[in-house]
């Protein structure tokens, strides 16, 4: 029995046991476990030749593609730590992450390199590796390398050896080493990097494979963007079982009926998604016309799923089980709840449930007592192998989230303090109540309102800004910004929107910007966000699709 303690061991095992199983499909592109293993070996050898040191950060700035998987496994095999960046985010954000992570390598495509070359000049990058055509290379081509960007070399990995026998031993990581850093919204304007070790991600994979009972015949959809930690649970869980990961091409994913057809034609058996995406399919996907008999498990989480929509979905896919999961990038999966019967008229929220195997959760009230009885409220804490190692380069913020177990302060062990407020129901299930801070969800994405505000303040014409969440029946929250401008400024809404669009991922760009002469204040002089929200909702704008 081979020891599996590093993430890429999963791929190597799968390539041994299920070499011809499809590892990943994306539209017409398919790659087997054997080929993915070989291609990522080639990349690992290239990175090692380029001087990768164990633990070096390798930024992955690639479109949703098989190349992403080659990049991820290649970085891991060479002892590196992969750092995925949203390929659709403005290039300036990629630059921010390259600098913040002090990445030594950038894996990208020739197209994206054109966009980002202006942003990566002053960084710790030693070389750029192009992954174009990664999935299609079957014959050796010459290695390319040319100095550009002031001495930074750009190479391709085609032609590198496809076995790992020449890889130096000193690149071998241990399970405690950081495997990846996933960047998430940061309240002060800079995104923060969540470090996860090989052990952390393997624990998520074990959970994912176990929870969905994955076998090698399963076809597991991965609708989450690949730069979100949620996708790693799906991807590595599937790899562990030898299942196929089914990616949705962006063009198709935006048309709910096309998406439904793809789920049918690819015989997807497991689908873990966010309510807003599922709701669009319920409303516009013509699900009644599809044969979804292969779909046996639907998981959802990340935001509330209005009961009227959930019960409709359960009626449309009667052969499937439905799982409500609660998770975060920092804590991994914290709780699960199998949804049985849902009354379309119920007003109570769907519980987030109980801890999965190998995870312990508890909630502590304001007196530091663990909550035990139904109705008691407290903040959720998580312990277990899935929890993060910390925030990259930010010991202060890490110390706020990774704390000593409040119930066992005699131990050195750290637990994650989630900031989620919860209560208990009669069956001992946890029920989510809300956040303590300014983080909200929109379309299942985390948005720190402070990050949006900081970005808007960076515009010289903005005097005051308040970014507020307006409840929305489909996407959870719409982000609305109220702005008062500097005296004499004639800047228009469109200019401010463009300013945001050039700096923030699209789900963080306010869905509307309201210009005001001044913003209402509290008695203590702070902007009165509550009254702004009330006003907006009263205008009939907090609404349903």
């Amino acid at each position: 029995m081979t020891a599996v303690f590093l993430l890429h061991h999963l791929l190597q095992e799968a390539a041994q046991r299920y070499p011809d199983n499809e590892a990943v499909v994306l539209g017409e592109e398919r790659v087997t476990y054997r080929t993915l293993d070989q291609l990522s070996n080639g990349l690992a050898n290239t990175l090692s030749d380029q001087g990768l040191q164990k633990g070096d950060r390798v930024v992955l700035y690639v479109p949703k593609s098989i190349a992403f998987f080659v990049g991820m496994y290649g970085a891991l095999k060479s002892g590196g730590c992969y750092v995925p960046v949203n390929p659709d985010a403005p290039p300036v954000r990629c630059g921010q992450i390259v600098r913040d992570s002090r990445a030594a390598f950038l894996l990208t495509t020739s197209g994206l390199l054109e966009n980002v070359r202006a942003e990566i000049g002053e960084s710790d990058l030693r070389s750029v590796v192009l992954l174009d055509d990664a999935a299609h290379t079957t014959q050796p081509l010459k290695n390319g390398g040319e100095p550009i960007l002031g001495g930074l070399s750009v190479v391709s990995f085609r032609g590198a050896p496809q076995d790992l026998t020449s890889l130096p031993n000193n690149l071998q990581a241990i399970e405690n080493d950081t495997a990846c850093i996933y960047y998430t919204s940061g309240s002060t304007g800079i995104p923060k990097g969540v470090m996860r070790s090989h052990r952390n991600v393997l624990a998520s994979a074990e959970f994912s494979a176990d929870c969905s009972d994955l076998t090698q015949s399963d076809r597991v959809a991965c609708p989450h963007p690949l730069h979100f930690a949620a996708s790693s649970f799906t991807i590595f869980g599937a790899c562990m079982a030898g299942s196929t990961v089914v990616l949705f091409p962006d063009k198709i994913a935006m048309f709910p009926s096309q998406l439904a057809k793809l789920i049918e034609s690819e015989r997807v058996s497991v689908l873990d998604s966010v309510p807003s995406a599922l709701i669009l399919m319920i409303l516009y996907g013509s699900l009644e016309a599809r044969d979804l008999s292969h779909l046996r498990k639907v998981g959802f989480g990340g935001e509330a799923f209005p009961v009227k929509h959930l019960s409709r979905l359960m009626a449309l896919i009667p052969n499937s089980r439905f799982l409500h999961g609660h998770a975060s990038t920092e804590a991994g999966t914290t709780s699960v709840y199998w949804v049985k019967n849902v009354d379309p008229n119920q007003t109570s929220p769907i519980p987030i449930g109980k801890a999965p195997k190998n995870v312990e959760i508890f909630a502590v009230d304001s007196d530091g007592r663990k909550i035990e009885k139904p109705g008691e409220k407290g903040e959720l804490y998580v312990r277990g192998p899935m929890i993060m190692q910390g925030y990259w380069g930010d010991p202060e913020r890490t110390a706020r989230s990774l704390v000593k177990n409040p119930l066992r302060p005699d131990l050195e062990e750290r637990v994650v303090r989630t900031g989620d407020m919860v209560t208990l129901d009669q069956e001992g299930n946890y029920v989510y109540l809300g956040r303590e801070d300014d983080m909200v969800k929109s379309r299942g994405n985390r948005v720190e309102l402070g990050e949006v505000e900081a970005t808007m303040y960076a515009h010289p014409a903005v005097k005051e800004v308040a970014v507020v969440p307006i409840p929305d029946d489909v996407i959870g929250n719409r982000i609305v910004a109220f702005v008062s401008l500097m005296d004499g400024s004639s800047v228009k809404r469109e200019d401010l929107l463009a300013h945001c669009a050039q700096r923030l991922p699209r789900y963080m760009v306010p869905s509307s910007i309201e210009l005001r002469d001044s913003l209402p204040k509290n008695p203590n002089g702070k902007i009165d966000k509550v009254s702004l929200i009330k006003e907006e909702v009263a205008r009939g704008k907090g609404t349903t699709l």
Partner: protein, 87 residues
């Protein structure tokens, strides 16, 4: 019809993400213009502005790939025998 649609898409959908202008034959099915949610927003705008009802099976790439395609689709809904593409 085309200028109205172009203005809406440029201002409310693409919102400054694009550095080049959006022409009537520019592909809209790219990440920096349409995504699943802005598509729904666009549909709501078209429905209210042109008094049509978009059926789920008509929400397909062929009908929304360019401003020209959108106009052809709307014309087919409003006039005459349905010549817009169904799935």
């Amino acid at each position: 019809m085309k200028p109205v649609i172009r203005e809406y898409i440029t201002k409310e959908i693409a919102s400054g993400r694009r550095s080049t202008p959006i022409d009537y034959d520019t592909s809209l099915l790219v990440q920096d213009i349409l995504d699943s949610l802005s598509l729904v927003k666009l549909v709501m705008f078209l429905e209210s502005n042109f008094s049509i009802a978009v059926r789920p099976e008509e929400l397909v790439p062929e009908n929304f790939s360019t401003i020209n395609a959108i106009c052809a689709y709307i014309m087919s809904k409003k006039g005459t025998p349905n010549t817009g593409k169904l799935s």
